[in-house]
Every structure is written in C-alpha cells, then in structure tokens.
Amino acid sequence: MSISVQLADFDCGAEIAALGAAGVGAVASFVGVVRGGSGAERVLAMSLEHYPGMTERALADIVAAAQQRWTLNGVRVIHRVGRLLAGEQIVFVGVAAAHRGEAFAACEFIMDFLKTRAPFWKKEETAQGAHWVDARESDDLAAQRWQ
C-alpha cells in the first residue's frame, strides 16, 4: 500500500506500470479529473482543502479495509490538494490483483469510501465567484452498498 497527498501532478502510466510490475495479471485504476462544465456554471479552477494527518490515516484505513476484503497485490492512492485548473487530475486509485473482478471491486470500494470518509473539501471557482461543493447523496449511497 502506498498513499500520497500532494500538490504535484502524477503520472498514471508510471503508477500503473509499477502496479503491474509484479506480473500479477490485473490492474484496475481510476482517475478523477476537474470537471470543466459549460456556460455560467463553467468551472475555471478548484481548490482542495484537507485535514493534514487525518487524511492519510483515513486513506490508510480505507485501503486496509479493501485489503481485508479482497486478495490484492498492490494498492496506490494519490490525492492532490491545492488549486487545480479544469481538466487537471485530482485523484488516482490503482489496484493490482490476480483476478480482475477483485481489482475492479477494490478500486471502486476505495473510491466510494474516499469520497465519503476522507477529509477533503472542494471549492469551485466559476465566473460567478467561488463556492464550496455540496456533498452528494449518491456518494453516500455508493458507500453504503458495500456494508
């Protein structure tokens, strides 16, 4: 397991190559990108605030729960903080496993709990000004279905 909370961008290709290097067969991954949108709603940039210390612990707990549930050979989580422009990468979750079903399930599980348990907050900047993003009920429902 390797977890990073960082300002810098990341290289998905290098991360996937590292996960696949053990030759275990399957690597499922997810990349979240700052949505552009359109019209007055168009997002120009986004600022990500987090709770240093708790963030890393929350992510480690989520990954540990995934590792307990499935047989995984490698997990990598990267979440950026600070100000990001539309189109920039925000988050990477990659999971290597012998079986693709486990890799997919664990990757989605980690994303669902990251969205609802890890202390990050997004503030969007549009032409109309800046506003904090509201939490979505669909994210809570996505996390609940694993219980």
């Binding site: 708790m54 988050v91 990251l114």
Partner: protein
C-alpha cells in the same frame, strides 16, 4: 489543560477561525463542546447541525466520545474529495 479545536472548509470560512484552544469543559464530551460553541450564537449555530461532523484525534467520532486535555477535536462539513 485544554483542547485543540480545528475547523475546516465552509465552516472555517463562516466562523473566520481556523483553530483555537478551549479549556476542557465540565461536560467533557464532543456533545458538550458542541453545545458550548453553539451558545456563542451567530455563525457558531452552524455547529448545531448533525451535518457538521466531528473527528477526535484525527478519527471520526460520535457525540458521546469522552475528551481529555490535549485532545485534537475537529469540526467540518461533509467531505467532498475524490
């Protein structure tokens, strides 16, 4: 003999406070601290909402959690990362 309080995101902005030290209250639970803060009135009443979550020493915690001097107690709105 005090608590380290932290506030994040929209709550931090509304309160205009990022962190403060608070003497350990008589009712030394998260609920007790929350009641004290809400009593400040104005924007502090936001803390009355159950949507404002609490984390004790960097882990999500329930309202009954007991507090001791030196604890780090954070309040924040629902998370929106990922």
């Amino acid at each position: 003999m005090s608590l380290n309080l932290l506030y994040f995101a929209s709550l931090r902005e509304a309160l205009g406070v990022e962190r403060e030290n608070l003497p350990l209250p008589a009712e030394a639970t998260i609920a007790g601290v929350r009641a004290l803060l809400v009593a400040r009135g104005g924007e502090w009443q936001r803390l009355a909402s159950p949507r404002i979550r609490a984390a004790l020493n960097q882990a999500l915690a329930g309202e009954d959690a007991a507090l001791k001097a030196g604890d780090e107690l954070a309040f924040f709105p629902p998370v929106t990362g990922g």
